[in-house]
């Protein structure tokens, strides 16, 4: 909503977190968003609200008080058990008009990145995707949003001066979840769900969990990724073993995916996913720029390759010069020794 002057701007207050719901559960990224929201609300001397839209989530919704929510809005309807973009956007937009939050944080997930842009258009507000840093400008109280663009080659700081609410999406693991405070409570507001929210026919036929556990790249803290050097599907079995030992996920370069060795859901890079894990272990990945832009923000990069001169080995924090077919099993054995 466009604001004309300071008085208008002051009618918006509080920081909202749009809870990330998937497969009938509120996802952990929601807690991280609440951590970020608390810091912003403290700076603005306002409150943190969580908005939970879905079905059968009331218990998960109540658990958000312990993570810092002061108020929880719950929109529950059995038609919302699958992700209905249009209905969720209509509900959220109506709540925004009614309660006028100053800032809204959503998860930069498949759902969040589909839902929040729709809400930003409907409410005529500014949205910044995939923020890695959020701060309040001490001079005017605006939200300063920092995000990578161009696959991480540029860091842009963005503000939304004349529109409210200011909206951001944030990737999993970028913000820290607060320590839970058991026993903390608050008010639950039940939001209305209207038949007219569902006017645009979309029927969810079936929801399927990925067959492999090692596929959730955005929630993983450790990714073991393979490229051309892995040689084939058998090589990826080896990487799965290491990922399993580290409690991580399996990633892949474009060439490994294009060769049919592993499914696209695992692809990291410009035409795959951008990841930001604590540890990224690149096995036999030469490190073309299109791959590097998808993983160069990872905290610790480990490369394993027989060729010490590849771009990946150059940017790695730890570069192991060796045959991955020997080194990876040795790492698995070494990890077993240590547990």
């Amino acid at each position: 909503m466009r604001v004309i002057d300071q008085g208008d701007r002051d009618t918006f207050s509080n920081v909202w977190v749009v809870a990330e719901a998937l497969s009938g559960r509120v996802q952990p990224v929601t807690h991280e968003l609440l951590g970020a929201a608390r810091a912003l609300a403290d700076a603005r001397k306002s409150k943190v609200w969580a908005v939970v839209i879905g079905h059968g989530l009331s218990e998960d919704a109540r658990s958000l008080f312990a993570c810092g929510a002061d108020t929880v809005i719950l929109a529950d309807d059995d038609r919302l058990s699958g992700f209905r973009d249009e209905a969720e956007a209509a509900i959220l937009s109506r709540l925004i008009r009614a309660y006028r939050p100053e800032i809204i944080l959503g998860a930069a997930t498949a759902r969040g990145r589909a839902l929040i842009p729709r809400v930003a258009v409907l409410t005529v507000s500014g949205l910044t995707a995939d923020c890695t840093g959020l701060a309040i400008d001490p001079e005017n109280g605006d939200l300063l949003q920092t995000r990578p663009a161009f696959g991480g080659n540029i860091m842009a700081t963005i503000r939304c001066p004349d529109h409210r609410p200011q909206m951001s999406t944030i990737r999993p693991h970028v913000m820290k979840a607060p320590l839970p405070q058991p026993g903390r409570g608050g008010e639950v507001i039940r939001a209305e769900v209207l038949d007219s929210d569902f006017i645009n026919a979309k029927e969810i036929i079936q929801a399927v969990h990925g067959a492999e556990e090692e596929v959730n790249l955005s929630e993983a803290r450790v990714i073991v990724a393979g490229g051309r050097g892995v040689g084939g599907p058998k090589g990826f079995e080896l990487l799965r073993g290491l990922a399993h030992a580290l409690g991580g996920a399996v990633g892949a370069s474009r060439s490994a995916v294009d060769a049919g060795w592993i499914s696209y859901a695992h692809q990291v890079g410009q035409t795959g996913q951008t990841v930001q894990t604590d540890v990224y272990i690149a096995c036999g990945i030469s490190g073309q720029i299109q791959h590097l832009v998808g993983m160069q923000s990872c905290e610790t990069i480990i490369a394993i390759d027989t060729n010490p001169d590849t771009p990946m080995m150059q940017i790695a924090d730890i570069a192991i010069v060796g045959d991955l077919f020997k080194v990876v099993p040795a790492i698995i054995r070494e990890l077993e020794k240590n547990t």
């Binding site: 699958g82 498949a110 258009v121 963005i158 929801a207 730890i318 060796g322 040795a330």
Partner: protein
């Protein structure tokens, strides 16, 4: 089935430069390519057209030179191409861009389906596809990885998410954004390329699409870029480990432990 595919010309990542005044990407001097995800959007549009008839229109907003990307779409087989180009569109953020594209889609007589790539690789926002759907008041399906079956009125498709996928059926008209997995884009034929060279690409201005001037361009955009800088460089001091596989493994695991990066020490590392 009439399909509009929205495409974007993007600068090559390796040549990205920022205008110190406007903080926007300088598009005029960098080598430009068609956004990689848009190839999959075009291919899916062409496949549906081959099944149902109708036409595929490639639509873009950008400077005059974005016509080169529209010609690429024509050479793949799009029936026609339209460019939105005018100074007053300049500096549009995703809100204003999706507004302008939605007005152009209406001006072109609407469509049964609008297809976009998942995101453009310069801005990486993934916001314009859902934005167009919102401006048009249409349903949307993002991160589409497969068209399961298509009828004239309804399309059944598979959407990716972090845990797997879901299958949903959406009534036309709607907007879908597609990921790379969905198909294998065709390579333009020589005949197609020659045809594309000769085709006229109309350029539309705000007045041609009935766009309100206070909803386009930098001024109308809710978001403003206030700073754009290269990221802090990575610590490039690489620790190189060589030797037998066992020695390498021992040193790596010790190194991971020292950095507090082993699973059991997660809490220690994070807090």
């Amino acid at each position: 089935m009439n399909i509009i595919v929205c495409i974007k010309q993007v600068p090559l990542a390796s040549e990205a430069k920022i205008d110190p005044e406007t903080k926007r990407i300088i598009r005029e001097t960098a080598s430009a390519i068609l956004n990689p995800f848009d190839l999959y959007a075009l291919e899916e549009g062409l496949l549906l057209k081959e099944k149902f008839g109708g036409e595929v229109i490639a639509l873009s907003m950008g400077p005059e030179k974005a016509k080169a990307s529209l010609r690429e779409a024509l050479s793949m087989g799009a029936d026609r191409a339209v460019l939105l180009s005018d100074k007053s569109f300049g500096g549009s953020d995703t809100w204003a861009t999706s507004y302008a594209l939605s007005k152009a889609i209406q001006q072109l007589g609407g469509a049964d389906l609008v297809i976009c790539g998942k995101q453009a690789v310069d801005g990486d926002t993934a916001q314009v596809g859902p934005g167009i759907a919102a401006h048009l008041g249409w349903p949307q399906a993002a991160y589409v990885t497969k068209v399961e079956s298509a009828g004239r009125d309804k399309i059944r498709l598979r959407r990716m998410n972090e845990e797997g996928w879901d299958i949903c059926e959406v009534s036309v008209p709607f907007v879908m954004t597609v990921v790379k997995d969905i198909n294998q884009p065709r390579v333009p034929t020589l005949k197609g390329s020659l045809r594309a060279l000769d085709m006229e690409i109309p350029v539309l201005k705000p007045g041609d699409i009935g766009a309100e001037l206070d909803k386009i361009g930098l001024f109308a955009s809710p978001t403003r870029v206030v700073k754009a800088v290269p990221p802090e460089p990575r610590n490039t001091r690489t620790q190189v480990i060589m030797g037998s596989a066992e020695d390498c493994a021992r040193e790596l695991v010790a190194g991971l432990k020292a950095r507090g990066l082993l699973a059991g020490e997660e809490n220690h590392a994070r807090n």
